[in-house]
């Protein structure tokens, strides 16, 4: 498995090959189709038509969360659309100003709840850079393994749900069979299945279980088969091709202007991956490729994600046999809690524990922006410390906020049925969208 390089040509159509009947490439698309003629010779000009207004959401099975799309329709075409978000706004950025740094970690779980560990790691990495520490090698490799497991799980939900939304349920179960095994691994590790809260500032909550390596390997065995099954079902499926090729097209320049990152940007053919261009946690020492698409449509977004799952598998197989020994936490009593027997048996340990719990980790005053490559794109944390144990301000840069900003322009000019296909392909997670 480790040596196998997926042949991207199998996944991604060649440039210019797939052109749908309509294109959102030009946002001011000419919607004048008064020249269309019916079989009996009537044209649209002969019929008295009125625009129709419909609401999709706030709660709709295809919205994957809660938000509202308000459309002005002409027949089945969307002439104008408005997107309303904020239905899941919980005031993350306000709450965390009143919490210690380590107490913020459980809140980050609830940002992108399909890949909670990535949020944990992204936040801890930013705070650690602020503190000027580097976590031990062992922790770095463990974090890489966990991030890649979560990337696979996130892509499985996104791709599975995307295909469900356009009418094929079986793929979802193929992916969820395999995903369930990964979920069991993470449950054995963290005790949770959704909100893991496994990292701490300066390291991890606890070490890996003894049989972690065997468990991960056993869970990964089913994934290539799941990917094969799903690609076999959709790759040459006429219905899927018609629903996804040429739908929701965007080019790289517009995507960048809209702030796109991650697999959706790479689907436009722009190979930007933070793991490659700004490597952290020794990502530059793993061998993996960055899959890109050609047309920037829904089809490319699905297959870039599927190809990324194979790349994540390669990274995990390289990392899982080479987890170095040693401590998991930095050796700094101002940051990491002392061992339990020290707390129970020595005065110094007890005082240290008490001070750290009551006062928290104290980064020096300053501001930092730090980001990682989350499954959805660039997940950034802008943190201001005033030198106390509580962050003065945390601004999250959620990747799908900027994808969602674009939705209005992607669906204007498309058909009503394309809304769900485009929406699911962007992988909107309301938790991180609304915070």
């Amino acid at each position: 498995m480790t040596d196998k390089k997926p042949n991207l040509d199998d996944f991604v159509p060649k440039a210019g090959e797939a052109k749908g009947p309509y294109s959102a490439g030009d946002f001011s698309a000419d919607l004048d189709y008064s020249g269309d003629t019916a079989a009996d010779g009537t044209t649209l000009d002969d019929i008295d038509t009125q625009p129709m207004y419909i609401n999709i959401g706030p709660t709709h099975p295809a919205t994957h969360g809660t938000f509202r799309v308000y459309c002005k329709l002409d027949g089945e075409r969307i002439k104008k659309a408005a997107v309303d978000i904020g239905y899941l706004h919980r005031g993350f950025e306000k709450i965390v100003e009143h919490r210690k740094y380590n107490q913020v970690i459980p809140y980050t779980d609830r940002l992108n709840y399909c890949s909670g560990l990535v949020n944990n790691i992204g936040f801890c990495k930013a705070v650690e850079r602020m503190l000027g520490i580097e976590v031990p090698e062992r922790t770095q490799v463990i974090r890489v393994i966990l991030m890649e497991i979560q990337r696979i799980m996130d892509h499985m939900i996104c791709v599975g749900a995307n295909i469900v939304d356009i009418g094929a349920l079986t793929n979802f179960w193929y992916f969820f069979n395999a995903r369930e095994k990964l979920n069991d691994v993470l449950e054995a590790l963290t005790g949770a299945r959704l909100t893991y809260s496994y990292t701490r500032v300066g390291g991890l909550a606890w070490d890996l279980p003894e049989d972690f390596r065997e468990r991960v390997k056993a869970a990964l065995e089913g994934i290539p088969k799941a990917i094969r099954d799903v690609t076999g079902l959709i790759k040459k499926n006429r219905i899927f091709l018609d629903r996804s090729r040429g739908v929701g097209v965007i080019d790289a320049e517009k995507a960048l202007s809209f702030g796109w990152t991650g697999p959706c940007l790479r689907a436009t053919g722009y190979p930007m991956d933070l793991r490659k261009v700004r490597p952290y946690y020794h990502y530059d020492q793993f061998s993996f490729d960055v899959p890109i698409g050609a047309n920037g449509d829904v089809y490319d977004r699905v297959f870039v994600r599927i190809a990324e799952m194979e790349e994540s598998l390669r990274i995990i197989y390289q990392a899982i046999d080479n987890v170095p020994g040693g401590p998991i936490n930095v050796d700094n009593k101002d940051i990491v809690l002392p061992a339990k027997d020290e707390v129970h048996n020595t005065m110094e340990g007890l005082i240290n524990h008490f001070k750290l719990v009551i006062e928290g980790v104290k980064p020096p005053p300053g501001r930092i922006y730090d980001s990682i490559e989350a499954p959805n794109g660039e997940l950034g944390f802008y943190i201001i410390s005033d030198g106390t144990g509580q962050p003065y301000r945390i601004k999250v840069r959620p990747p799908c906020f900027y994808l969602m900003n674009t939705l209005k322009y992607l669906i204007e000019g498309a058909m009503v049925a394309d809304i769900v296909a485009i929406l699911a392909g962007l992988n909107i997670i309301a938790g991180e969208l609304d915070r």
């Binding site: 509202r68 308000y70 002005k72 104008k80 659309a81 408005a82 997107v83 309303d84 978000i85 904020g86 706004h89 005031g91 950025e93 306000k94 709450i95 100003e97 009143h98 850079r129 602020m130 517009k254 960048l256 202007s257 809209f258 702030g259 990152t261 722009y270 930007m272 261009v277 700004r278 490597p279 005053p365 300053g366 501001r367 930092i368 922006y369 980001s371 660039e378 950034g380 802008y382 201001i384 005033d386 003065y392 301000r393 601004k395 840069r397 906020f401 900027y402 969602m404 900003n405 674009t406 209005k408 609304d434 915070r435």
Partner: protein, 174 residues
């Protein structure tokens, strides 16, 4: 890698000070990042220089800050634009102090379309008024919501009762 990033910072800081010297109040290099502190009147000029001449093609985020409880600050509010040049892998931030009683800031939506929602969020959370923004309405909070929740004087436990469904006519025609 860290060294090459510092070299990029050095050369960009030189070019910016040669071109826009008086516009940049201060250059902050803490944590190895590069931050230009820019006066409000010049922010659009600086941003468009960075976008068009220096090819900072990605606007990553627009972060508002209420500085009132910080030990020292220039003005009560600050905006921080986080920019990324994907071609050369270079990040800078542009920090703009905004006085409490003159919250108008020129919009960046004409430079990056990502600024649209980012500025709407800064508008509702802190009360910045982005002049020239196509649709400066509340985004995450409800249209009936009053006040600016991320200001330091907004109580963390204070909720508001908002029940009317918002009409999206304005966004529709945006």
């Amino acid at each position: 890698m860290a060294n090459s990033e510092q070299q990029k910072h050095d050369s960009l800081a030189e070019r910016v000070s040669a071109r826009l010297g008086a516009r940049v109040l201060e250059t902050d290099r803490s944590y190895g990042d590069l931050v230009f502190v820019v006066e409000k009147a010049a922010v659009h000029e600086v941003l468009s220089y960075l976008k068009n001449d220096e090819k900072f093609d990605l606007l990553l985020d627009v972060a508002g800050v209420d500085c009132v409880k910080l030990p020292e600050y220039r003005e009560r509010f600050e905006l921080e634009y986080i920019l990324y040049a994907t071609g050369v892998d270079h990040r800078v931030r542009v920090r703009v102090p905004v006085p409490e009683f003159a919250l108008d800031v020129p919009t960046a939506t004409d430079l990056w379309r990502a600024a649209n929602w980012a500025e709407r969020e800064a508008h509702e959370m802190f009360g910045f008024v982005f002049t020239g923004h196509p649709c400066l309405k509340r985004l995450l909070t409800h249209q009936q919501f009053e006040g600016h929740p991320l200001r330091k004087d907004y109580p963390v436990m204070q909720g508001q009762w908002c029940a009317t469904t918002s009409s999206l006519e304005e966004e529709l025609e945006e």
